[in-house]
Each structure stands twice: as C-alpha cells, then as structure tokens.
Subunit: 612 residues, 2 copies
C-alpha cells in the first residue's frame, strides 16, 4: 500500500512556528550564509580564476556548499520571487557555463588543479558535488522555469553516465560520498529521462562490490562509505552518518520506483536499526567524531556527541521516503523528533549562526579539566559550545537554508482514498481538486483545525507517539475513531472542519537500558520538544542537579519565545569520588527546548538528568 | 611527622581471609605460574640458547616476568622454606651468572639478538627488567641469606650507574618503563650503598627533561611514559597507569629519604588526583585500553574498563609509601579498596587463572551486538570475561604471586610513640620489643581484638571511611576516643587487650556526578567489599535490572565462601529506544563481592545499578 508525499510546492506555510523560521531564512540566514561564502572564497571560486598564492584555496566540497545555497534560493523563489537572490544564482550558473569543460564536466578543484585526474579518486567528493548541483538545477528550473542550469547539469549527468556506466572508464564505480544517487532520481522525476534512474541504480548496485579498487585500498572501501556489503544486504547503519542516510534516501527512492522488495527490506531494517539503537532522543545521529560515524548499537554518549546537523536532516529525508512505503507513524514521529530538536539546534534563534556538531551535554568545568593530553586528542572530543557563522567544512549552513523553506514536504502523504496528516503546521495545501487548510499554533498548543474543501476524503491524523490523550471532532461534534499504525482515521466531506486535540504534557522519558550514558536518568519532553537544562537558568554548573518528584509547571520564556518547564530540583553533593554521604540543596530548575540551547552565551547544558 | 611502615618479614598472617589466599599462592598459584612460564619458554629463555626458528621467541619483558616469580618465591621462603622452589630460583640465578655479559650486563633479548644495541632504545623495557631482577635479588638475599643473586645484580646496577650517570654514554637518560627507580631504592635500603640512591635520583630527575632524545622522537617521550614534565611538576596522573605508579612509588621513596618537599608535594597531588578523579570504586586505575593509560578526570567507563591488575597493585604500593608521610587514613582506605576489590579480582578463587584487564561490567548481549566494525577496533574494547592462566604479556600473574605473600606490608605503620593499625588481618607482628597480635575474622566480621605485649604504646586504629558506627574497648571496658585524620587513638599498656568493633552494613554508594557512567546509579558495598550482580545469580541478563528500596538481607554464599546480599529488585522494560511507558517485574537480586565475579562461567556482571 504505497503512498505519495505531497511536495512543498503545493503547500504554503501560513503562520506559526515554521512560518517564522522560514521568514528568518528568507530575511537573514540566506544572506548571512551568502556573505560568509563570499568572504571565504566559495562564490568567487566559481569564476575559476583562483591561482596558487591567492587566499582561500578552493576545497573539493565547495561546489556542493554553493549548490545547496542555490537550491535554497530556488525554494524561497518558488514561494516568492527574490530578484536579488535570483541574480546571484544566475551569475553562478553563467560561471558554471563558462567554466565547465567542453564535454560538460564541472568541478572547481579538478578543473583548476588536476583536470587529468577527474573520476580517478573515489574519496574526492566529485560526484557528491555533481549531485548537489543537479539537485539545485532541478529546483531552480521548477521554481523559475529557467532552463540553463538544468541543461548544464543534464549535460553533466549524461557525461557521468557515459564515463561510469557505458564506457566504464572511471577508476571507481560508485562514489565515496553518496548524494548523486538521490539527485539522479530527482532529475529522472523532473525530466522523465530513464537514463538518470538507470545511472542511480548502477551506482547503488555497484556499491559493496569493490570491483575496481586495488585490493589494498582500504581507505576507499568498507563501512565508512557503506561499501562493506551490497546495499541489499546492509541491515545496520554503518559509517559516516550523512553519507549513509543520503544513500538510504536513494535506496528508498529506487525501491519505490523499481518495486524492489529486497531494497525496500534493507531500507526498513536500516531505519529500524537507526531509530531503535543508534539515534539520540533529539533525532540526531552519528555519535562519533571519529570520521563522523555511527557507533555501535546503543553507544550514544552525550558529552562527546557528534550529532551533525546534516546527519539529522538526512535522517528526516530518509524517513520521508520511508513514509511512502505505507502508513506507519514511526516515520513521521522520527521526522518530528528531528525537526524540533536535533536538526533545529543547528541554527541559532537569530538565524545567523550554526552548529555543525550538536552538543548533547555541556559541562564547562569538565572541559576545563580535560588536559590536551594524548587521550583528549585520541578519544575525547567535545563539540563546540557556541554556534558560528561559517565552518571550514560548511555543509550544514546551506543544508539548513534549503531544508526549512521546503519543510512543508513533510506534512502530507496520500493515496487515492486517504490523506495522511504527518506534521502539524499552519498551512494551505492543494492536492488535486482538494484544498486542505490547517489552522494551528502547534507545537505550542495541541489543537489543529483542518478544513477540507473541493472534495471528500478520508483523513488520517498522526497521533504522536508522545501523546496519550487526544480527541477528534468533525464540525464541532466528537468523532469516535481508533488508531491504526499510529494514525487516527476520520472521513471528511467537502467543507468539513475537523479538529484534532492533542494533550501536550510534561513527560519523563527513559531510554533503553543498553544506552549506558542514560541509565538511571530521564529526559523531560513537552510535546515534540526535548527539553534541556541550561546553566544560565540554573545557577551555573549542572553537574550535580537532580530533578525531584513528578510535578512540574509549564511556563513560557518570552525572550526565547518558547515554552519552558519549572521543576523542583536539588543540587546534590557527595564527599570525594565515592560516598554515601550526600548533602542536597533544593531549588526550582528551569528547562527550555533543547534546540534553543546556547543562545544566551556559553553555559552548561544537560538533557538527561536524575529524577529522584 | 613521618612514619615507618612495618615490613611483612616482621609479621605473620595467622589465619582468616588473607591466610587462605597466602596458602593458595603457596600451594597452587606459584606452581601454576611456574608451569605456564615453562610452557611458554620464559624459564628456558634464561638458558640463553634460543635460536631463530625455535618456538617461543623471547620477548623484551620476559626477564621481568620470571624476576617477579623469583621475588614471589623469596617472599614465600621468608615465611617457610620451600626447597623445591628455591632450587628453581638457584638454577635461574646460575643461568644469569652464566649468561650475563662480562661487564655484568644481563638481558635475554639484547644479549641474544642485538648486544650492540644495549641502552640505545628507551622503549625496550631494558631497565624495567633490570629493576625487577634487582627487587628479586634483594628479596632472595633477605629470605635465604644467599648472596650470589644479589652480587650479580649489584654488578649490574653498578654498570648501569657507570653507563647512565658517570659516562652518560647511554642513548637515553631515563627509562621508558619505570621500575628500576624503586628497585634501586630497595637496593640502597638493603645494602646501604648510597650510589644506588643517587642513581634512582638521577633517573627521577632526568625524567621530563628529554635532553638526549631527537626532537622528533615523539614515541619515546610525553605523557604515556610520564615524561611530559619534570617529576616535581607532575600533578595529574598521566599515561600508562602501571609505569606511572611505579614512578610515583620511587618519587615517594626518594622524597622521604632525601627530605624533598617538592617531590613530596607532587606525590600528594598525584595521589589526590588519582583517588579523587581517576580511580574506579574497586581501586582499579588506568581506564583506557589505549596504551593502558589513565584517562581524563572522571572518565571511568565500566563496560570498557581496562583496569589492569598490575595497575591496582601499583597504586597500593604507592599508597603504602604515602602512608609514611604521616597519619592520614586516606592511604590505608585506598589500599583496602584495592586489595579486596580491583586487585583481588585479578586472581580466580581456585588460584589458577588471572585477569590482566578487570571488567567492571559485562553485558554479553551487548558484546554480541557489537560488530567488528571500524568503531569496535578503534574505540570500543571490551575486557575478557573469563580469567586465563597465562598471557602473551603476562606481567600480572607473578605480580599477584609476589603481592599476596607480602600483604602484611600494609598492616602497620609507626613512629616513636604510636602504632597505626592500617589493615585488619589476623596476625602476629614484632615491632622492636613489642608484640602485636590481631585476632579477627575481618572482613567477614567487624570485630578486631588487638593484644599488645612487651611494652606500652599508643594505638591508632584506622576507622574505615565506609564505617559509620564503631567502638573501642580496652580490657573489656569501653574507651572514649575521637577520630583524627581517620584514626582513633587509644593508649595501651603491656598486656592490654584492645577491641575495635566496626559495624559492617550494606551501603549504597554514589559517585561524583562528573563520572558520567555512574550518574543516577549506585554501587552496593558491604564492609570493604564492593558488591556486584552476576547474571548467573540473577536470571541471565542484567541490562534492565534495578534495585528497589533501601532494605537488604545479608547472607553467605557457601560455594564462594563469601558474604552475599539479597536485595528487592525489578526487571524494568521500556518500549523502543525512548519511552515513558515502563513495565516491571519484581524479583530478589543477589549481589556477591566484585572480586569473586567470573568464577562460575561466563555471565553478565554489573557493579553500578539503579536504585529506585
């Protein structure tokens, strides 16, 4: 029972939480990233006139950084033309046209430094950059109707197909950093040219075969790049978390488009493995800084969490594709977990700065005490405590700017009879003859009013896994319904107004006891928000803070514009390293949504805490 | 206010817990280690006739393995002659006499493989082996009065002094693995030859200066071998835990013998750093398998604990030396913590097999689920779950066999007016004209009867940090006294019988909240024993076990011959990775002393557990 996801071009976010975030991207973030990408030489690099000795030597992944920014502009433009931003895109497209090689190849570093070596080194992000440019080109064509970028990228895609698939003359046969696979599916969806789908399939099918690499080339094979097994036999999420989820996105895309049960089975197992053993409560993934990888099952350290913003985002993209396999609220629950927590923490509240790694605990004293010893360098890596505007490897900022404008992608899925409401956002959507209007102040309030016009349809509301008490009404009258696969179904005729009431309450969540770092601790959640303590609200150090009892008061932090929770607590001290002599001092702790941490200066932060 | 430690040659352990262990060493362990050291080529290697192509190629640390065994025999012999064991020692001594070089040099590997390279490579355990041979020679001379071994080692020590100190012709100027420093102090104490003390001081003072090494030789300098700073400026315990504590032993020895306040200050800071931030509750240290090192403050993972038996033992040796600086029960408390827990776990109850690494938590299911992935190899290392008879690097077994026969070293310290009773063991001790007789079934019972004869003295009983309720009697009458620095003082005349009653009870110990792995968890202790849960007593998996309430029943496990604790508990399960839906099933948990874990087959084990 396959579903389709309604794409965001059919949906306008009309107000509330995500509207504000979208406005922030449009007014502040997109420009701030542009400025930093100019300062650091990324946009200038497209002029292809960099010479040795000049500052800002181009890096192998710069094409992709800018490509995601171009894609972001396309998404903003789709909703509201932005002539100034469009002019920048057009200039970059002209740069690409001028700069590309005669046969359609485009890559800044290879063309500048070693054109003779193109398609020779699996590890050099060449096809990754191509993939992001293709995604941008598709998006820009869709948004503006302009063809040039798309044609340039079609030429490039055709070249790639010839070299890799037809002539098999490249030195490797699947990329070291996945991305082009899902981009080629998008290009296929957009153009209808089956070649692109075939090429995506080719890359997917070659992965894990390692046929072309020298036997001793261990760097460019193995779990890090999901090359340890044929993809249909990969059941645990291994290696670099972003690469992994980009791959899984393409696998899910192809499973659906080619009706490949084995591929679908692998996707389901991978999703289950991630969400049941390798994901933070925030939806973040990739717990290790060592090569930005997934760690073994249940190894989810808080203080050294890597939890890259791009990885959380990539998991949301994967979950959205899984949603198409059939109604199962686990997918949308995971998306919700990510977008309100481990993804959103990547962006500052003022829209100007970013986390690449997302700390899941900060203990400033502990960090001070960690000497820059052998062990610090080898085994203990703490993420930064304050967001910054640009990184040396700055993949996350333009990923945030393309994700938020397209967030409505996650709201609806549907089949012939039913519309699945996966996310709650104030919005108007067009689905064929149908118009779906959501009025809600979610996630601040749990009431969603959905008006259906233009036809009748069965509506399936996702009942979030965190929600215990809910009710549904139709035109003011209560409706009896049951949950199936996490959705509550109700029939709606043209003009009907449905109301879903989700009771949002303070919850004390435990984790599987195999997650050693969280044993004996709880996390407080409020609706979809995972809450955290910050030192700035709680007297500095959080090391010895414990929550007391089971009663809490919900408040609202006007400055953050977010709900907060007041909870009885103590500071508990013990004598020495081990003791049963405990002294404690009561106080009222304040918790705020995790994603908003580190917006008020450098301070301690904790999600998991004792509750005595 | 310096004290002296009464050495074990003046004390006989007459019964009880440690007497049984000493008999086990004498009857079983010493022979079992001998057998394994023959099988693996260690004893035969002293014949110096190994040739390429033969099995059991000698290793650079074999001299030290056998040396510690020789020292063990000396300790056993001191209490009761063992002709068969002595004959083996004499043969090895003859081998050394025959095998040494003309100038007194002795080292199996260097002589066999590369005599031209002696004293050229800091990392090759050359002086470490020399140190253990010197310790053995001193012990054997003391035990038997035989001179040959001592003379051979004095020749060797003189050669080392000439090469390193007088001629400065060695390629390095302090060893890569400490040990010789403390051995030279023993040689000085035994012979009165000040040269040995000077050489020990020389090595200590050169450490951290790195004068002789090429600048780019990073392998042979730095924190791993405590060479990052001059020793008087080392305030945190860094690097390889055994090396570190052997060094600290020598530093304390030299601080005392040369009245060096700076050195003493460093020792105090190092001891504090270890015991307040880098030590397991069992007294084990060196939490990382990566180079067997101390990790940063409070990083004490349970499941991947390295916790080498030799390291715990070395910390006890260091604590004993610190004890001499003046009365402070922290030192003897630490010794007690080690000898009943993290050291003793190194030996099986049958006396035949050993842990090198001492697991501090075993979850067999978790281990199964950990794939042999990149991350497993790089970051996740689990210690073995069952003791074995010999290791490739088999330093721990002969360290156990020399430690237990000399355990009475830890009982008493004294000055002109006072005898400090640091450890409670049934024993008879001679201190000058004084005889001190302890009658006790400690640690099974908390009652100690101490009879003083031959003179009068002030007696200072250590009140263990774990003990809350205690009383002292003299000749049947209660004595009022107060604790000072952890000791309770009472005057005793010739013939007086003092009784110390320590109430042994079940305690629930917390750790400093900076120890992330233990947050929200408790450890149960009973007297000096840290208790643990084993799967074999508790229905297999311990992952989801939580103790309930504050009442427990003390029992006795006849098979283990040890106290055990029965505690109300539940198995608590949650749905998925994160949830507030909890189901629980009550049962009665059984805890046994940690040191006795893994004596009944491979099974789960946990020390730290939730108490709800």
């Amino acid at each position: 029972m396959a579903l389709k996801n309604l794409t965001f071009d059919k949906i306008d976010i009309t107000g509330g939480f995500w509207h504000e975030k979208q406005e922030l991207i449009r007014k502040t973030t997109i420009w701030n990233v542009y400025k930093r990408f100019c300062d650091t030489g990324r946009f200038p690099a497209f002029k292809m006139d960099w010479k040795e000795g000049m500052p800002n030597r181009p890096n192998i992944f710069w094409d992709s950084d800018v490509a995601k920014w171009l894609e972001s502009v396309a998404y903003l433009t789709l909703k509201q033309r932005e002539p100034e931003l469009e002019a920048i895109v057009d200039e970059v497209v002209d740069d690409i046209e001028r700069g590309r090689m005669e046969d359609g190849y485009f890559n800044i570093c290879y063309e500048l430094f070693e054109p003779q070596n193109r398609f020779k080194f699996r590890g050099n992000h060449e096809l990754y950059c191509a993939g992001h440019l293709i995604e941008a080109a598709v998006a820009y064509n869709k948004a503006t109707g302009k063809n040039k970028f798309l044609h340039l990228m079609e030429d490039y895609a055709k070249l790639i197909k010839r070299i890799f698939m037809d002539e098999e003359s490249a030195a490797f046969d699947s990329p070291g950093h996945e991305e082009i696979e899902l981009a080629l599916v998008r290009l296929y969806d957009h153009t209808g040219n089956r070649d692109y789908l075939d090429l995506a399939l080719f890359f997917i099918n070659k992965r894990g075969s390692q046929a072309k690499l020298p036997e001793n080339d261990n760097y460019h094979r193995g779990t890090h790049i999901q090359d340890h097994l044929p993809v249909r036999e990969q059941f645990t999420a291994e290696g670099h978390a972003v690469r992994a989820c980009y791959l899984y996105c393409a696998m899910a895309d192809l499973a659906e488009r080619t009706d490949d049960a084995e591929l679908k089975n692998a996707c389901e197992k991978l999703f289950k493995n991630i969400t049941e053993a390798r994901m933070y409560i925030t939806g973040s993934i990739g717990s290790s800084h060592v090569l930005e990888e997934f760690e073994n099952d249940y190894r989810l350290p808080n203080d050294t969490a890597y939890a890259e913003t791009c990885a959380a985002l990539a998991l949301a993209l994967f979950a959205r594709r899984m949603q198409a396999f059939g109604p199962d609220s686990r997918y949308a629950d995971t998306v919700e977990r990510i977008i309100y927590n481990g993804f959103l923490s990547g962006l500052s509240l003022d829209g100007k700065s970013f986390f690449y790694e997302n700390a899941h605990e900060i203990d400033l004293e502990q960090r001070k005490s960690v000497r820059s010893s052998l062990h610090e360098r080898r085994n203990t890596h703490f993420p930064i405590t304050q967001r910054i505007e640009v990184f040396g490897c700055s993949c996350c900022p333009p990923n945030v700017t393309r994700f938020i404008p397209s967030i409505a992608d996650f709201i609806y899925s549907y089949d012939d009879t039913t519309v699945y409401v996966n996310q709650y956002m104030a919005s108007t959507a067009s689905l064929g003859e149908l118009t779906l209007t959501q009025e809600t102040n979610y996630p601040f309030e749990g009431c969603i009013k959905l008006t259906i016009s233009g036809g009748s349809r069965r509506i399936a509301f996702r009942i979030p896994a965190w929600c215990r008490v809910w009710s549904i009404g139709r035109n003011g009258a209560s409706v009896d319904t049951a949950i199936n696969n996490g959705y509550a179904y109700v029939d709606a005729a043209d003009g009907d107004v449905l109301t879903l009431s989700l009771r949002i309450s303070v919850r004390r969540v435990k984790s599987n006891p195999r997650v050693l770092t969280n044993r004996g601790l709880i996390a407080v959640t409020y609706g979809p928000f995972v809450m955290c303590l910050e030192g700035v609200d709680n007297g500095g150090s959080l090391t010895n803070v414990k929550l007391v009892g089971k009663t809490a008061t919900v408040g609202f932090d006007e400055k953050l514009g977010l709900p907060c929770i007041y909870h009885p607590a103590v500071r508990e001290s013990i004598k020495g390293l081990y003791s049963d002599i405990v002294s404690s001092e009561p106080f009222t702790a304040k918790l705020i949504p995790y994603h908003a941490f580190a917006n008020r200066g450098e301070t301690d932060m904790r999600i998991w805490v004792e509750n005595i």
